[in-house]
């Protein structure tokens, strides 16, 4: 049995706490990196939702977990708005697989 974690700035993430997901509040890069490493390497979490803003700080670290089946690191928009990073990730995998973007060009 696995849990689900949500990390990012307090305003974006606090609401998920009410649903029973584990929340971690982080603001600055060092702290974000530390928290993310802890969550990802613990093996207790199937999914880690992270705000786009926080993910932008540690994108290299996130990429390391792309090939593993767990945890799934999923970007969500934060309270400050949608940066389009999440959808860009999907776009990237299409480009990787197909060679060119055939889904999002409309």
């Amino acid at each position: 049995m696995y849990s689900i974690a949500v990390m990012g700035d307090r305003d974006s993430v606090a609401g998920f706490g009410a649903l029973g997901l584990e929340t971690r509040f982080t603001d600055e890069p060092r702290e974000t990196m530390k928290t993310f490493r802890q969550l990802a390497s613990s093996g207790r979490y199937a999914v880690i939702y992270i705000t786009e803003k926080a993910a932008a700080m540690i994108s290299d670290e996130i990429e390391k977990y792309n090939e593993a089946m767990l945890p799934a690191v999923i970007l969500i928009p934060g309270v400050s708005g949608n940066t389009g990073m999440g959808i860009a990730g999907v776009k990237k995998s299409v480009e990787k697989a197909v060679g060119s973007d055939i889904i999002f060009n409309d």
Partner: protein, 221 residues
């Protein structure tokens, strides 16, 4: 391209031929695998796109309400309201093998006291906007989990497709032509050897006949 030198022998020829057969079969199989993976990937990625749009919209709506709630309520009250969740969520993950890619299949269980009873606070001291925010997050939650499953699968499959495509290309454009070239080289060399042996034998025969004739002539004279 670096050419590996092979011995022009019959044994080597047989070996190269069997390698070529294996390479061609492998190429066909991998090509089929790539096509099937691609078909599934495209279905999945369309779903992924749709889910992501819905989830992002849902979270945006929830966040808007949450900001409203935060504006109306004071900070400590908001924090305490969300401090102790009533509901707990656990996920079980199984692996599903799609064309040798292990993709996760997630199933979640919520341990909540009652259906729809997700509010971890009394209603007396909290804003109605907070209720809306929590409710809309709760509504989007199944999709959020589906998105996680779908997006992870997409990423894993994209990796596998890339790998398979490289293998297919390597076989098609490097390995198979190389084997064909070597087989051709060996056959040519063997044929050439055979011809030269034949000619040598013919020459020797000629010489022997000539000698014979000359001996006979000498005897007659």
């Amino acid at each position: 391209m670096a050419m590996t030198q092979v011995n022009p022998t019959r044994m080597e020829l047989t070996r190269q031929k069997s390698k070529l057969v294996t390479a061609i079969r492998g190429h066909k199989l991998l090509k089929d695998k790539r096509d099937e993976l691609m078909r599934r990937f495209l279905d999945l990625v369309r779903l992924n796109k749709q889910l992501r749009e819905e989830v992002e919209e849902g979270i945006r709506a929830a966040n808007r309400r949450f900001v409203l709630a935060a504006a109306v309520m004071n900070d400590p009250a908001l924090k305490t309201a969300l401090l102790a969740p009533k509901q707990s969520v656990s996920v079980s993950v199984a692996a599903k093998n799609v064309m040798s890619v292990d993709i996760p299949v997630m199933d979640y269980k919520t341990g909540s006291p009652g259906e729809g009873d997700i509010f971890s606070y009394g209603f007396a001291f909290t804003s109605g906007d907070l209720d809306d925010a929590v409710r809309s997050l709760n509504d989007i939650f199944p999709k959020l989990l589906k998105l996680a499953e779908c997006e992870k699968s997409c990423r894993l499959m994209a990796d596998e497709i890339e790998k398979t495509r490289r293998r297919v290309n390597a076989l098609e454009h490097v390995m198979i032509p190389e084997y064909q070239r070597q087989i051709k080289y060996i056959t040519m060399k063997l044929d050439e050897n055979e011809r030269s042996t034949q000619i040598r034998l013919m020459k020797v025969k000629d010489m022997m006949i000539k000698e014979n004739i000359e001996q006979k002539r000498a005897k007659m004279a």
